[in-house]
């Protein structure tokens, strides 16, 4: 059932929000012991929220577009009074005194906030293996990673524990796990969804977005969370984009770009599914154009300087003074060092040090400064590409979900799994990953659609089309 249908039946009392909540809890009970998608779950709070929705309906009120719809939340979004850890020991036990704007929007829409999902610590990773509280497993094959960093949110939807969830995407952290878990994942245009209350990894790249079982559900959830927020200076002063009105409009007449470099190094099975998607689009009346753009591959290196640089500053505040965990020391500096050394995991330390280095005296121009210029180059490259096409179709990830431990020894090999998703973050553009069949081992394969800023309506149209063609 779609979330629109669920909300409709809750609103018309064909079912009750408490019944939906109990079904959700039962599904989590059945699967999460194996999957470990959730870091925090409070059954009583879920039932209480559902009862609240039901009593609003009983009182003749309209609880909103997501009445009674369960939504899981990545544990880097602040929810008032609910433990929020970023999967880090340094924040273990911290309860934010405020709600992120997206949480407020979900509440206002009548959604039931189900719990906090697992992630790579501070969203730094591509496998959810970097969680301080244990990895999440891929619901399709538990010997494999769910992707990351939003692995918990992707797996919770992929395992049918919840219909939709929220994640965050800094370099592919929604799209890559969506592809690995066989669900839909959107990285919206930078500035369309408020970052207020999203615990920052890399501020100029981070964006909150939806995971869903279907393109329609992703579209509805996106419309609910998007729109201007005066608490976020980087929020675009526009109303929430309308992606649903024309979502069934098809792809006839669209010019769709193929960037050979965005398939570079893909496995044969991934390549085969992308080609199948291209064929389907062409047959449905889209024009496909090949547009080589080798500059986009520079994005990976630029990203691995820019994101850690911003992160090194964003994560300075975890110093044991105001909140979170403290490890004592003889003086304040020793306390801060002890706290941070004990509180952060290796990947976080690696990126903090990398970012600190890239910004430090003598290296700024060569590293951070150059990376910012590459960012300009990538934006200009996209600009050139979008003179000739409306959208780009390509692979979300070079491979299907990999096995636990297979990339942990070599950070670079892990970073490489984000090579196709990173350019959109650097440019602030939207991109969506749609499941488009499976590979030889039955593992999901995602096709990525990329578009220019605010092209979500077109992206959703094309994504919806691919969803209907998934069987071919």
């Amino acid at each position: 059932m779609s979330i629109v249908a669920t909300a409709e039946s809750v609103r018309t009392k064909q079912t009750r929000a408490v019944v939906v909540a109990d079904e959700t809890l039962a599904a989590i009970e059945a699967r999460d012991g194996d999957i470990h998608a959730f870091l925090h779950l409070d059954a009583e709070s879920i039932r209480a929220q559902a009862r609240g929705i039901d009593s609003q309906i009983d009182a003749g009120q309209h609880p909103g577009r997501l009445a009674g719809v369960p939504v899981a939340i990545k544990d880097n979004l602040c929810q008032r009074g609910v433990p929020t850890t970023c999967a880090s020991k340094i924040l273990e036990g911290w309860k934010p005194p405020y709600d992120a704007t997206v949480i407020t929007r979900l509440r206002e829409a009548g959604a039931v906030l189900v719990g906090k999902t697992n992630l790579d610590e501070f969203a730094m990773g591509s496998s959810t293996e970097n969680s301080a509280f244990g990895a999440t497993k891929n619901p399709v094959d538990p010997s494999r990673v769910p992707g990351g960093s939003s692995g918990g949110s992707a797996a919770a939807v992929g395992a049918d524990m919840v219909p939709v969830s929220l994640g965050s995407d800094t370099g592919g952290s929604i799209r890559q796990p969506a592809a690995f878990c066989g669900v839909v994942g959107l990285k919206p245009t930078y500035g369309t969804v408020s970052r207020y209350g999203l615990i920052a990894f890399a501020s100029s790249l981070d964006q909150v977005g939806p995971f869903a079982r279907s393109v329609d559900d992703a579209g509805v959830l996106f419309e609910v969370i998007a729109g201007h927020d005066p608490m976020d200076s980087t929020s675009l002063a526009i109303s929430a984009p309308d992606v649903m009105t024309d979502i069934d409009g098809g792809v006839a007449g669209l010019r769709i770009g193929i960037i050979p470099e965005l398939m570079d190094g893909s496995s044969d099975e991934v390549r085969a599914r992308v080609v199948a998607a291209q064929d389907a689009l062409r047959e449905a009346g889209a024009t496909l154009v090949s547009l080589p753009a080798p500059e986009l591959l520079l994005g990976l290196a630029a990203y691995y300087l820019i994101a850690p640089a911003e992160a090194s500053s964003n994560l300075a505040r975890y110093d044991g003074v105001r909140y979170g965990n403290r490890v004592d020391g003889a003086d304040v500096s020793a306390m801060m060092i002890a706290t941070r050394t004990a509180g952060f995991g290796d990947e976080v330390k690696r990126r903090i040090m990398l970012g600190t280095y890239a910004l430090s005296a003598g290296y700024y121009d060569a590293y951070y400064g150059q990376a910012q210029k590459v960012r300009t180059l990538i934006i200009e490259t996209f600009h050139r590409i979008y003179q000739s096409c409306d959208l780009i179709v390509g692979a979300t990830t070079p491979t299907t979900a990999f096995e636990f431990g297979s990339k942990t020894a070599d950070p670079m090999s892990m970073y490489y799994s984000d090579i196709f998703t990173i350019p959109s973050n650097l440019a602030g553009h939207p991109a969506i990953s749609v499941p488009f069949g499976t590979g030889e081992a039955g593992l999901p394969i995602g096709v990525q659609l990329l578009g220019p800023a605010l092209s979500e309506p077109t992206l959703f149209r094309a994504a919806k089309f691919l969803e209907t063609e998934v069987g071919r």
Binding site: W94, K95, Y98, Y190, G191, S204, P230, S233, T234, L236, L298, L300, A301, Y304, L305, S312, A316, D319, V321, Y323, G324, N325, R326, G329, A330, D331, V332, S333, M336, I337, A338, R340, T341, F344, K349, R350, I352, M353, L354, T356, Y357, S360, A366, Y367, G369, Q370, A371, Q372, K373, V374, R375, T376, L377, I379, E380, M412, L426, A427, G428, H429
Partner: protein
């Protein structure tokens, strides 16, 4: 254009100190190897001639996002202090400070 030198253990010790992290000797060695590999791949962009391009700090071209000078509710003090590792006299308590602020 810009020059870089290979990262060594001293660099790692220095950035760890700037970032308020302490590393064991083993960690210094491990992180030096890993960070050097990452910076190696960054060398391809450090070596690019991008003289004509302006840096992009931010993907949006927004300017002048301002708010009115109107007081909003502050947080409840007890709520905030209840989350603090150490509190004394309604303030956040820290061990002795060596050295003034910059």
């Amino acid at each position: 254009m810009s020059s870089t030198h290979p990262l060594d253990a001293n660099d790692v010790i220095k950035v760890a100190s700037l970032a308020r992290l302490s590393l064991s000797d083993d960690e210094v060695e491990r992180f030096t190897g890993q960070l050097a590999r990452i910076l190696d791949s960054a060398a391809e962009i450090a070596a690019l001639d991008l003289g004509g391009l302006a840096p992009t700090a931010h993907p949006l071209a927004l300017v002048n996002v301002l708010r009115d000078d109107v007081v909003r509710d502050s947080l409840d003090r007890d709520d905030v202090l209840s989350q603090a590792p150490s509190v004394n006299d309604n303030r956040f308590s820290v061990p002795k400070i060596i050295g003034d602020a910059p």
